[in-house]
């Protein structure tokens, strides 16, 4: 089987939720969800159940979603050892067989879409449309990387210069054990994406899901094993920071694939840079971290289009996406109109549980997050003007009100620090160049947005924009596999692009073989 033998990649279509019949399928999925899940430390065929780690519904914290074992450092070591033992056989498995296992995992997920989405609704308070999209994206990663791996490793490799009497070949070999350290905000898609990339190219994986989302992590591993990935090639290591640190510091981990906060990511990079005695390999880190994403609104923008897109970018999933918009930099001529319409629109946002189709802003993931957002909100109220939703915020659950903050001092931490919640700042600028200067002053560069209709201005901003993903005249969230390869620059990440054509290169090592084909003066 070659990549050409597979139908071309296409994105798994999200449900058409404007139709009542499709909404009904999700309600059925939720009704069939049996909680709590039990999530083991799962190494090879060994499962150790436990209840040290508990994930709960952010909208109803007394509802337990998963009871998980929390991996000890010893278990982290055992998982790496098992993955290392399984590496030879998995790496030697022909790439098309590995790809086929991933495609079967995709089919397994496709058959369970409603149930998987329902789990993301419960465990991470992802509202339905986003939960459904998360399942689709996980399927997309499987389908996309399966094809990409065949492309990368299934043929003769890239063309090299050939001269008479020698044969040159470039091949991409898997690197070894990959530790995947995943976030909770795309609880199925991101762990599956990083894991699928590593597995497709022949690496073995130890997956540590976020401690807030062990249930979703379990489903990722179940899908892969159901698809035929050998038990040794994929281990599940639920746990907290200690398990993650033990993994990251393990000398037999060849690659760390991480998506999460900047603080943790930088710590992983430091750890990985430390070459321990007896190390046989330099640890590579693929890291996707935070941002401070800005949307620039030029004087010719159509606010009818810009306002809904800004609302979506800043407040969907309560702003808890690394791509979410945090700052709006608007041309001074439109500032007042934009603020009036934006605050009016925010006033209509409904804060509520994730399983309500009418919810605009679900709860944030945990109490710490609620307290953090409230601290920033108080700071905004103290140092600027804030405006919020009119609707009540439920008492129970980790709810916070959506906030628009204006009139903040230029040095405000609110304009610099990642809040990861539904808090959006607005500041006027003289022109797009002033906006570009302010964006350029940030140490992070993940996503950006631009609302502008002059093609020359658009080209100018594109040229000046450092971000990994720039969106022109649309929302800044919702990157699609194969369409918007995703990842940040500067301190936002290692510049890798998930769901893009070159992502798999981070999970392989290139090997060149040059063979002399001359014997006794003859080219043989």
């Amino acid at each position: 089987m070659s990549a050409a033998a597979l139908p071309p990649f296409r994105n798994e279509p999200v449900l058409e939720l404007r139709r009542a019949t499709e909404r009904a399928t999700l309600a059925v999925g939720l009704g069939e969800l049996r909680l709590p899940l039990r999530v083991p430390v799962w190494i090879g065929d060994e499962r150790r159940d436990g209840e040290e780690l508990v994930s709960t519904d952010p909208g109803r914290p007394e509802r337990i979603v998963a009871l998980a074992a929390s991996a000890t450092p010893e278990e982290a070591g055992a998982a790496v050892a098992a993955a290392r033992a399984a590496f030879g056989a998995w790496a030697a498995t022909p790439v098309h067989e590995r790809a086929a296992a991933l495609l079967r995992a995709a089919a397994w997920m496709r058959e369970r879409r409603a149930g998987l989405a329902a789990l993301a609704v419960r465990e991470c308070a992802k509202p339905w449309p986003e939960a459904d999209a998360d399942v689709c994206e996980a399927i997309d990663f499987l389908e996309f990387y399966a094809r990409a791996a065949i492309e990368l490793q299934g043929g003769d490799g890239p063309q090299l210069l050939q001269v008479p009497g020698e044969r040159n070949e470039l091949r991409y070999a898997p690197r070894g054990v990959c530790a995947v350290i995943a976030p909770w905000n795309f609880p199925l898609a991101i762990p599956m994406g990083m894991t699928a990339a590593a597995l497709a190219t022949g690496n073995t994986v130890v997956l540590k899901p976020a401690e807030q989302a062990p249930g979703c992590g379990l489903r990722v591993v179940e899908a892969l094993r159901a698809g035929g990935v050998p038990a040794g090639a994929i281990a599940l290591l639920p746990g907290g920071g200690e398990a993650g640190a033990a993994l990251a510091g393990h000398p037999d981990v060849a690659t760390i694939a991480f998506t999460g906060s900047g603080a943790v990511g930088l710590e992983l990079l430091r750890t990985a840079a430390e070459v321990s005695d007896g190390a046989r390999q330099l640890t590579r880190v693929v890291a996707e971290m935070g941002g401070k994403n800005c949307i620039v609104v030029d004087s010719d923008a159509d606010l009818d289009e810009a306002i809904p897109a800004i609302i979506e970018s800043a407040f969907n999933y309560a702003g808890q996406k690394c791509s979410a918009a945090a700052r709006v930099l608007v041309h001074e001529s439109l500032h007042d109109a934009l603020v009036e319409r934006l605050t009016g629109a925010v006033a209509g946002l409904q804060v509520g549980p994730a399983d309500d189709f009418g919810t605009d802003v679900p709860p944030v993931v945990e109490q710490d997050a609620q307290e953090r957002v409230r601290r920033y909100t108080e700071l905004a109220a103290r140092t600027g003007d804030i405006s919020t939703g009119m609707s009540d915020v439920p008492d129970e659950g980790w709810y916070v009100a959506p906030i628009v903050a204006t009139g903040l001092p230029p040095e405000s931490p609110l304009l610099r620090e990642e809040i990861f919640g539904p808090l959006l700042t607005v500041e006027p600028v003289r022109d797009v160049d002033e906006a570009c200067d302010r964006i350029d002053a940030l140490p992070v560069a993940l996503t950006g947005g631009l609302f502008c209709r002059n093609p020359r201005t658009v080209a100018h901003v594109i040229a000046r924009s450092p971000v990994g993903n720039l969106y022109v005249n649309r929302s800044t969230t919702g990157a699609m596999v194969g369409r918007q390869p995703f990842g940040g620059n500067r301190l936002s990440g290692t510049g890798t692009k998930a769901g893009g054509p070159d992502y798999l290169l981070h999970f392989v090592e290139p090997r060149v073989v040059t063979e002399n084909t001359i014997r006794h003066g003859l080219v043989v």
């Binding site: 404007r18 009542a20 010719d300 009818d304 009016g344 006033a347 009418g358």
Partner: protein, 459 residues
């Protein structure tokens, strides 16, 4: 095809009648405007219809005009868009050179803005209802009723929804007052069922609430209901007709349920006259019609619901949205399939009278002739079916229909240029679409061909 499609038992007679009706209507077209596009002498539109890149540049320019801060800014946008047209005709190259100097830019900006205003005035009858009255009176004198549509910016806040509702209330009062003073016109004021209101306002639910969410239709319904209920009450008091427009599929469920639910409330059993829209380009439009007819049957009202049958104005949007999401395309992608569906729905609607009143809104001579012929064969009298045209696009057809003694209503948008832009762009798209009936007509496609039965894909 539905059982009600009469073509199975009377094809030859029906086709012959459609031919006769169509030729008669065509002959009744005002002679100096036999070809609408040419008569309008809009070379930019013709040029645009022939060149996709130029068409895109023109639309982007029209769209951005209200947002430009100065003539210089206008010219910068215009040359920026034209820059992206690969094969520039000489006239465009001249325009581009004008962009090089300040004086040239001012002239170019002024010319561009004037062009857009000129186009806008063709479709938009006035900045506010009072300003539209002279046009509306003239239409009435010509035997044409109107439905006024208030153009507005998108509604994203509750305050904007309130403002739109207030504008609608004001328009209802203005129209009711103005139409009271007009001369009686029996064709426009009565059908076999009874009297018809003179004043007629079309409203959009998307403007009555900022909370239309495709995946949560009940939110928009709940939020829009009080505003729409107040307008229905007012229309009832004034004896005016309130028509609720349909927009994209994203809001169909919310709009339809809202309207049917409100009209079923006891206080509206005696009125007002109200209407909904059925979009023939939707593949599931027969199901929607089932819903409408079921509800009309279960909640009888003194003034039957008016169903306006249209092709649908969001074709590009529906196709692109479906393609981007990997959904099956909800609209017919072949014009002939859409035309055939329009005729099938026409037949069903005509047969459903007097449960509903029927308004056929089309500029397609064949579709209109089909409705007339079908109605005649069913024994309908002139006036038992209404025909609707868009001001600026269907003027000639409207006059021809009125001159033939039929009841005609022109859909007349009212509003300023900024607010009217989305409407204007949709109309321009329609006008320059290669497969539009108007384009065929303008480019001299023979009448026999224009009147031929749509060759629908066998299903």
């Amino acid at each position: 095809m539905t059982a009600s499609d009469g073509s199975a038992h009377a094809p030859a007679t029906l086709e012959a009648e459609i031919g006769r009706v169509g030729r008669a209507l065509h002959d009744a077209f005002p002679s100096h405007r036999g070809r609408p596009l040419k008569a309008l002498d809009d070379r930019a539109m013709n040029l645009a219809a022939q060149d996709d890149e130029l068409r895109a540049a023109l639309f982007r320019f029209v769209d951005v005009v209200p947002a430009c801060r100065s003539l210089d800014d206008l010219a910068a946008h215009l040359t920026g868009f034209l820059d992206e047209v690969g094969d520039q005709p000489p006239s465009l190259r001249a325009a581009m050179r004008m962009g090089d100097t300040r004086a040239g830019r001012a002239a170019l900006g002024a010319a561009g803005a004037a062009g857009v205003r000129h186009m806008a005035h063709r479709f938009i009858v006035g900045e506010h209802p009072k300003a539209a009255l002279p046009t509306l009176r003239k239409l009435w004198k010509d035997g044409i009723a109107a439905s006024v549509d208030l153009l507005g910016e998108a509604t994203v806040t509750a305050a904007e929804a309130d403002r739109y509702a207030a504008r609608c209330a004001d328009a209802l009062a203005t129209l009711a007052g103005a139409y009271d003073r007009l001369k009686e016109d029996p064709v426009l004021e009565r059908d076999a069922i009874g009297p018809l209101p003179r004043a007629n306002l079309s409203v959009k639910v998307s403007a009555l609430t900022p909370l239309l969410r495709p995946e949560a239709p009940e939110r928009g319904q709940r939020d829009a209901a009080p505003r729409l209920r107040a307008l229905l009450r007012q229309a009832h008091e004034l004896g005016a007709h309130l028509h609720i427009d349909m927009e994209s599929l994203d809001s169909r469920e919310a709009v339809l349920e809202l309207v049917l639910d409100l009209l079923a409330e006891p206080e509206f059993a005696d009125g007002p006259s109200a209407g909904v829209v059925l979009q023939a380009y939707l593949r599931d439009s027969h199901d929607t019609l089932d819903t409408i007819l079921d509800r009309a049957r279960s909640t009888p009202r003194a003034q039957p619901l008016v169903v306006r049958l249209v092709k649908g104005a969001y074709w590009d949007h529906e196709v692109v949205e479906a393609r981007q999401h990997g959904w099956s395309v909800p609209v017919f992608e072949r014009k002939a399939d859409c035309d055939a569906n329009f005729e099938a729905l026409t037949t069903r609607l005509l047969e459903a009278r007097p449960l509903v009143r029927v308004a056929i809104a089309s500029h397609n001579l064949r579709s209109v002739a089909h409705a007339i012929a079908r109605d005649r064969m069913m024994g309908g009298a002139a006036g038992d079916v209404e025909f609707q045209v868009l001001r600026g696009l269907g003027d000639d057809l409207g006059h021809a229909l009125a001159d033939s003694g039929l009841r005609v209503r022109a859909y007349c948008p009212v509003g300023d240029l900024v607010a009217g832009m989305a409407y204007l762009v949709r109309r321009l798209l329609e006008n320059t679409a290669n497969d539009s009936f108007l384009a065929d007509q303008a480019h001299g496609v023979p009448l026999e061909q224009l009147l031929a039965a749509p060759a629908a894909t066998a299903s």
